[in-house]
């Protein structure tokens, strides 16, 4: 009797749960597009203190949405899970300072690149480091899973071979790396230029830091979408081209970065 009750309850429980999940629209709808973003990714996409989403990529995405007449829903995601979210259909676009790389191109479709980016090393002025060579035997940090990390590993002659232990310290997010740099446990932090500039602009001790340019290949930010989503790729490319031709992309770049770094 007890056993039957337990089985019955178990079934009811499962039915209840599956009922909850029904009716939820997930991915690949023809109406709205779900844009996956990390809402702490300044200055590309982040929440204001009033809880509103803002940032360069959010602004561009909204304009693209207007051009292609599709409603956009912004969904916060964990950045390390972005390609899985895309594959599972829980998001339709990855659009948040997403660098186009050959490895990623094997898994997702990319739009035309719309923004130029570069890897830089942030150092403390007090350490008197002015060239990459001076990072010899120093501890260097990088965000795990970032393009900076890939660059570091793929072109070891530039930086990896000279830093302490030939191994970088990896951080989950940019702010932790910056905190560690501040605390002096690392002497250099390899990150995207757009993020480095935002951080230095908003830190009260900004005058204590400087940015070293690296010779890593320059990078491009593009929009990621599911493989074989040809129609969507075409739509987004056309919309981005339209924004570029009408100067809207340039003015957004100037508004967010103080200069035109679009392409």
């Amino acid at each position: 009797m007890k056993k039957k009750l337990i089985i019955l309850f178990g079934f009811l429980f499962l039915i209840g749960l599956s009922a909850c999940s029904n009716g939820q629209r997930v991915g690949t709808s023809k109406e709205a597009l779900i844009v996956g973003i990390d809402d702490s990714f300044v200055p590309m996409g982040f929440q204001t203190s009033a809880g509103k989403l803002t940032g360069f990529d959010v602004a561009v995405a909204q304009k693209v949405g207007q051009v292609i007449h599709r409603k956009l829903i912004f969904q916060t995601i964990d950045w390390s899970m972005k390609e899985t979210e895309l594959r599972n259909g829980t998001i339709d676009l990855i659009w948040n300072g997403y660098t186009k790389t050959p490895e990623r191109a094997a898994k997702v479709y990319f739009s035309h690149p719309y923004l130029r980016n570069q890897q830089v090393v942030v150092v403390k002025k007090a350490d008197h480091i002015t060239t990459l060579k001076q990072l010899q035997n120093k501890t260097v940090g990088v965000q795990s899973g970032s393009t900076g990390y890939e660059d570091l590993m793929q072109q070891p002659q530039i930086l990896k071979n000279i830093i302490r232990n030939q191994t970088p310290v990896q951080y989950d997010n940019i702010q932790n790396g910056m905190l560690d740099l501040k605390a002096g446990r690392i002497q250099g932090f390899l990150i995207d230029r757009v993020f480095a500039e935002y951080y230095l602009k908003h830190d009260r001790q900004q005058h204590q830091y400087q940015i070293l340019v690296t010779p890593y290949r320059s990078e491009n930010f593009a929009v990621g979408m599911r493989k074989h989503d040809y129609a969507l790729q075409k739509q987004i490319d056309q919309a981005l081209k339209h924004l570029k031709d009408t100067g809207q992309l340039k003015s957004l770049s100037e508004q967010w970065f103080g200069k035109d770094i679009t392409q």
Binding site: K3, C20, T76
Partner: protein, 213 residues
């Protein structure tokens, strides 16, 4: 001070998500834990074996892994949960396993003699459970349950991996945006406040059940 006022609403919004997940998990996992604990003491061997495996699985793997598996892994075999549902399912299944073990311990602590004595006095098994065993079990399990409840409110921060904006994530977002650690300090204070309230409630409940003393 003005800065605190500015970011507090977004933190409190995050706290709402944390509390909602907390409440749903607690309401679902405690009854499920009680049922499982009966099963774990069942004389039906296959049932007992299956439930022991379940408890082993849930307690033996990280909750973070279970969250990832349920939200990101299950869609590959066609089971798609909405974000918050996935979090509630993972937390309920995980916590039910812990509660089951707590209740099993509580049930075992009441000696078999008492059940036999109740039978001799002519009480049915259900009556013996309701009036003799259960009141004692409740008293025994309350402190352990309180432990799990406080763990739960903090564990809820693991939902970041599903992109759910809970209290800790709200603090992280503000930290990234404003380049200061102050939001995280506030997050800590809010967690402490929630735990203080829960501890107070637990003390009250334990007083209410302080019979036989």
């Amino acid at each position: 001070m003005t800065y605190i006022g500015k970011i507090l609403p977004s933190l409190l919004n995050g706290a709402k998500v944390t509390l909602l997940l907390f409440a749903i998990t607690l309401i679902l996992s405690i009854p499920l834990g009680v049922l499982l604990s009966w099963g774990l003491r069942s004389k039906v061997k296959p049932l007992k074996w299956i439930l022991s495996c379940y408890v082993w699985l849930m307690r033996g793997t990280p909750l973070l892994l279970q969250l990832i598996f349920i939200f990101y892994g299950l869609p590959t075999i066609g089971i798609v949960f909405e974000r918050f549902t996935a979090a509630a399912v993972a937390f309920t299944l995980n916590y039910a396993a812990y509660f089951a073990e707590i209740f099993r311990g509580g049930l075992q602590a009441v000696s078999q003699d008492q059940r036999e004595a109740a039978a001799v006095l002519g009480l049915s098994r259900l009556q013996a459970f309701r009036f003799i065993v259960w009141p004692q079990v409740l008293k025994i399990v309350l402190p352990s349950i309180g432990n799990e409840v406080i763990n739960l409110i903090k564990d809820s921060s693991l939902v970041y991996v599903l992109g759910i904006g809970d209290l800790l994530r709200a603090g992280n977002v503000a930290t990234a945006r404003d380049v200061t650690l102050l939001p995280l300090l506030l997050v800590g204070i809010i967690y402490l406040a929630m735990t203080a309230i829960l501890t107070y409630i637990q003390t009250k409940i334990e007083q209410r059940f302080s019979y036989y003393e």
